[in-house]
Symmetry: D2
Subunit: 432 residues, 4 copies
Amino acid sequence: MIPRYTRPEMARIWEPENRFRIWFEIEAHACDAQAELGVIPKHAAEAVWERGKWEVERIDEIERETRHDVIAFLTNLAEHVGHEARFVHQGMTSSDVLDTCLAVQLKQAGDLLIQDLDGLLAALKRRAYEHKHTVTIGRSHGIHAEPTTFGLKLAGHYAAFARARARLVAARDEVATCAISGAVGTFANIDPHVEAHVAAKLGLTVEPHSTQVIPRDRHAQFFAVLGVIASSLENLAVEIRHLQRTEVREAEEYFHPGQKGSSAMPHKRNPVLSENLTGLARIVRGYVVPAMENVALWHERDISHSSVERMIGPDATVTLDFALARATGMIEKLVVYPERMQKNLDDLGGLVFSQRVLLALTQAGMSRENAYLAVQRNAMQVWRHGGSFLDLLAADHDVVQHISRDELAPMFNMAYHTKHVDTIFRRVFGEG
Amino acid sequence: MIPRYTRPEMARIWEPENRFRIWFEIEAHACDAQAELGVIPKHAAEAVWERGKWEVERIDEIERETRHDVIAFLTNLAEHVGHEARFVHQGMTSSDVLDTCLAVQLKQAGDLLIQDLDGLLAALKRRAYEHKHTVTIGRSHGIHAEPTTFGLKLAGHYAAFARARARLVAARDEVATCAISGAVGTFANIDPHVEAHVAAKLGLTVEPHSTQVIPRDRHAQFFAVLGVIASSLENLAVEIRHLQRTEVREAEEYFHPGQKGSSAMPHKRNPVLSENLTGLARIVRGYVVPAMENVALWHERDISHSSVERMIGPDATVTLDFALARATGMIEKLVVYPERMQKNLDDLGGLVFSQRVLLALTQAGMSRENAYLAVQRNAMQVWRHGGSFLDLLAADHDVVQHISRDELAPMFNMAYHTKHVDTIFRRVFGEG
Amino acid sequence: MIPRYTRPEMARIWEPENRFRIWFEIEAHACDAQAELGVIPKHAAEAVWERGKWEVERIDEIERETRHDVIAFLTNLAEHVGHEARFVHQGMTSSDVLDTCLAVQLKQAGDLLIQDLDGLLAALKRRAYEHKHTVTIGRSHGIHAEPTTFGLKLAGHYAAFARARARLVAARDEVATCAISGAVGTFANIDPHVEAHVAAKLGLTVEPHSTQVIPRDRHAQFFAVLGVIASSLENLAVEIRHLQRTEVREAEEYFHPGQKGSSAMPHKRNPVLSENLTGLARIVRGYVVPAMENVALWHERDISHSSVERMIGPDATVTLDFALARATGMIEKLVVYPERMQKNLDDLGGLVFSQRVLLALTQAGMSRENAYLAVQRNAMQVWRHGGSFLDLLAADHDVVQHISRDELAPMFNMAYHTKHVDTIFRRVFGEG
Amino acid sequence: MIPRYTRPEMARIWEPENRFRIWFEIEAHACDAQAELGVIPKHAAEAVWERGKWEVERIDEIERETRHDVIAFLTNLAEHVGHEARFVHQGMTSSDVLDTCLAVQLKQAGDLLIQDLDGLLAALKRRAYEHKHTVTIGRSHGIHAEPTTFGLKLAGHYAAFARARARLVAARDEVATCAISGAVGTFANIDPHVEAHVAAKLGLTVEPHSTQVIPRDRHAQFFAVLGVIASSLENLAVEIRHLQRTEVREAEEYFHPGQKGSSAMPHKRNPVLSENLTGLARIVRGYVVPAMENVALWHERDISHSSVERMIGPDATVTLDFALARATGMIEKLVVYPERMQKNLDDLGGLVFSQRVLLALTQAGMSRENAYLAVQRNAMQVWRHGGSFLDLLAADHDVVQHISRDELAPMFNMAYHTKHVDTIFRRVFGEG
């Protein structure tokens, strides 16, 4: 979490102000529930809401003495609430506060990331429709394969981020549980009603089984999902980087006036956004295994997970938030060059239609093996020396025995490859 | 995937026989659909079903020449089907076969792992109910905290694996898609009807957008979920390892007659199953990041994912299958020592009731700070020098000013800590 | 890199002030070399040293416009240097500055970490000698095995960190190279002499082959070594956590007066330092794979590595620095309880001598198999029901046929197990 | 470790035959040393060497009963050696055998990998010299930067693998230690002389401090180094993949006669070897973190590391061995297209000389800022609309005020960029 890759809204979730605000709400709602149960006086709960205040600096000061953050907070809170403060935190442990707070923070972070995904989905959809029929070469192994459209490319990324969104919704809901169950989760000193009350007030579900802590497989799943989303972002970024490379140049990241590509080479226009996204994906993936290592705590809990979460909680969510926003901007402003796409398509002299010819030859009665050899023979000729694939085929004795030039010519036709674009768009976007 | 950690049922999924069987079904069902569409003759489709055969060794032989596995399979198939074989694989690419096959295999593996989880869940539930009221000390940071029950411990692991099951069902469904869309996913040479037909026959859903390959975020999510499950297994294993250590000895893995703990020290009884599970968890987690790195393929696809999947597909599922079965056996036969649990509970002279005393003192009007100091003062005395916590408290001037010995004594009571066991069992198992 | 786990000296390496200071030195030394070569005027080089200044805020301001940090720095520098500034950065690229700067920073960080290791080694050595002869039980699989000494335990960790130090020295030297080779590393616009001059001035070696960037396998190796060191720290931390658990209590982290172990349970004394180290180790390990993914840049370079390094450069070094310092303090102040060690040793009624008896029986002519069975039979009796292993053996018909009670008794002797402590200390510390 | 990615020589190291052979040698050499010390009779040691035999199937059979591999081996060995067998393994633990054996295996594997690296280095060097002066465009960010030579590209990879070799030699030596120190490493039941003797016979160094096991940071470092080497392989593979892509086509993997690129598209020639290497690198990297997690064993040892090593020991070394051999073959047979390199170089109309013009303008008195703007202005024109960069510059009023066309023309010259090739080759290869 460094300023360069941080947006304020996500950063705020992890700032002390937000954390202490959530801590306060947990404690104050718990007091309400305890008062309802008659465990503490009603006026004590009211006093907490009325006089409850805290100061980040003062908490830090007390923590330096007590070496315990929740006790420091409660001490500072007591300085404002006064005598009734002794009813605060009754029967609770620090983890009741800390883990429920983390659940709220991850829920807030999850909500923001879902918003980010919605932004990216909207951008991808708009550009996909814009280029629904912009023909371009599809490549497997980096080698020209058959035509597709640029809109189809973007639709594929849209589908990936729609899956990402569904996974994130599930992971957010899984991590958003409230535990107020006491020292080892037995509710010995606190009634389960308190937990239910606080959960409802904070928009969380009740953790069915906690052991002082909320079980960490929930968090591991959350960070794993962020890692998968980051990987889908990398996939999008790698596509853009390829399209922008000098020999391809079918699309380019928007270049701001005043921007300098290179201090040394004034002609450079580099895909720095998508390269950056590639790196950010590595970072977010790097947090997945530590989050999984956090699951195996000793007995009812140990605190080894805490330092990991203090770092990856902010780092993973802030970095992914930044990356999603950056990807959205990149897609929104992406400069697309349909004429370069056409030029690259034409560059292989019609080779991209080789499969269609192959199929036609087998349909016309040639064995698959012989058809393959005939097509490959002529294809390799074009690949190595250029020229027109159609012309070569039409001059090949074995080929024309089965299909005439007049039958071959109409096979070299883009529309053949784009005839199902509507079908796929309908599948991806739920509309044509 | 080494024999020592392999069970035959899961291994079979990854053997050539199963793979070629699936390939054949994909091709044969595709022929049916093509025949329906009139693209190939009906009798050709029938011939494939009737005469379709293959031999693993022959395929290997052909592959050594062609260096292409699907072509080798088709060539061998053609040797049996004869002339009609030229209608097989029409308009399809190898990936249509390979990726759909992988989807079937991962679905089969997922089904088996779900069965494994059901077995583990059943074992955990049975033992949890058996020890629902077996009191034992709960520990945080490895330090005695407050009493809980052994049944509650197991219930927590049950809840974790119930979550694991839900995640795995989702991940399995996500990865079980069928793609038969041609060279770059445009259906240029094959009608989407074929895909729909094959999907339905194989129990898969249709991949809405493929690009020769099924997008790899689906697979990354699948392997990530396996990594989280492995981490939950490690959590269970670490618990058993702790319980079995000499100073604790509250539970032990079953020791077979004839088993030797150590070649050098005949007295040793080691928790080797749970230690082994700890290692297997590391292995399964190690496959998560490679699976995520597989997502960012170049353009419509490259084949870098393939070698990764050839290894982690079998390795991750076989290892997790073995680990789940081992964990199930370990839990089923776990030897539990309630009397040791009681002895360990008693060992701290009543310190485990410190929180209850603290709360009572604040209820009786002492400030939280002073109550904490009074309780801690006496607790540290017991911790260092042994003795009865109750006796010390009853001799503490500050304490007895607020609570008499007669009021203190009933606070040292296990039932206080187990009163909500039913509540938690109801939450976890949906029944009391 | 969060304040809680950050020490100022390491943090300073990564602050803008240090970075810009290094940038300036690279540029100014390069000017000297260029002036020597006659490429730029001598007075220009002098002017840079004399008038060279910069302001972090001003650089930030310019960067917001140019979106390029090195250009922003050079522009700000030029504002101070004036007309001669046009001779600065001649023939260089940003990466010449950035990569050489990173090399200096990692060297500085490496130096600091080596100092940290020296501190930890000194603490381990002092405590190892202090407890050279403090007998304690050695445990394999968490099960009592045979006696060892607490000094030997610490000596093992000393040896691990001595290895860590050697690896870090090698990794630091490997990463400390200087590249000033121009746009794609061909020295087209800058003479290799400049690189050699700057390298010598900054205490770096010359990078033999750069491609605008210094190859990233050097950095990957550096971060991998940090990951291995962090794992050795975890090993030490896990040992302390085990020793402090309630049932063992052979050692304890120092507990500050005023420190609170638990807000709810005043009796708790938790091994929070070593638990924290366990978590920090996970974090540092999490940076290893991203650093390795950084190696495969596109062609002569892409900038995907940059965001990764901006985060893990500081995070990995700051976190490991903090962890090493924390471990050192933990070891220095560790409270050791030799009497508990003795008590735990005695707890198994002499079982820890089982191997010696086994060997004596085979020496006395019993087959290994029968000796094993005899020893195991009596050992299991003690394990389950307590009692004296010696008494049981002496009452075993098969045993006493080969060895009498009078021969057995002296085998139950600690000195037998500590006779080679000097040998091992000499190997580890190079002295007795 | 699957047949497809396995070479027999490396696989053999991990087969039972080799393992049992090493076990036998450890035991037999240990007997010699014990006999020298007078601990066992000389004839017993001789009997072991003379009659020592074992059968893999018989060992498996016994292990199914005892569930302990070393005991099973010793039992089988005793069946052949007879009565003297009771002197075998005296004072040793299974780990003395297992860990020393693993050290031998990793040393053997390391030796083989070093051989592989030597093969790759030789291939890279040969091709580097072959194309020392083959001019090609250097690319940063995928964008044409400045000319370099194809030999220089390969020289960079040579330098990376030379570093890899040095790291591997160090890691192999670090992991090649012998421990025969008994149950917890105290030599209670065995004299250190035995360890020294066996170490010398097996070409290992003595482990200064073992605790039944050899410390796992040694192994972690070994596997980390394999991960870094795999990443360097990926770097090489990514370069080849880029060069082979249709729009670049500057180099191609050798295509066997009879090889089929695609079952559907007969024109395809895919860089499948380098794509495969990319995937294999992910796999090898995936083993690094598990190896690091193995370091933190409980107390003197637990056995969690064992299952990890049983899998990653073979998998990592076999996969990397295969990958290095594949890379060597790929480089040896790589088809290089210098004329395509020249064509691509020319494609940008001279833009690649932009930095030289920039420098010349500043040398001629233009401010750096103005020079940058002038060069960028004309460069962007060429980038977008093609044409000759030289012509545009020569028509730019601001430019020609400082440099005439006659002065500009000679700046468009390849030799300027290759003048230091000898220097770099000398640095990398130690010769010109």
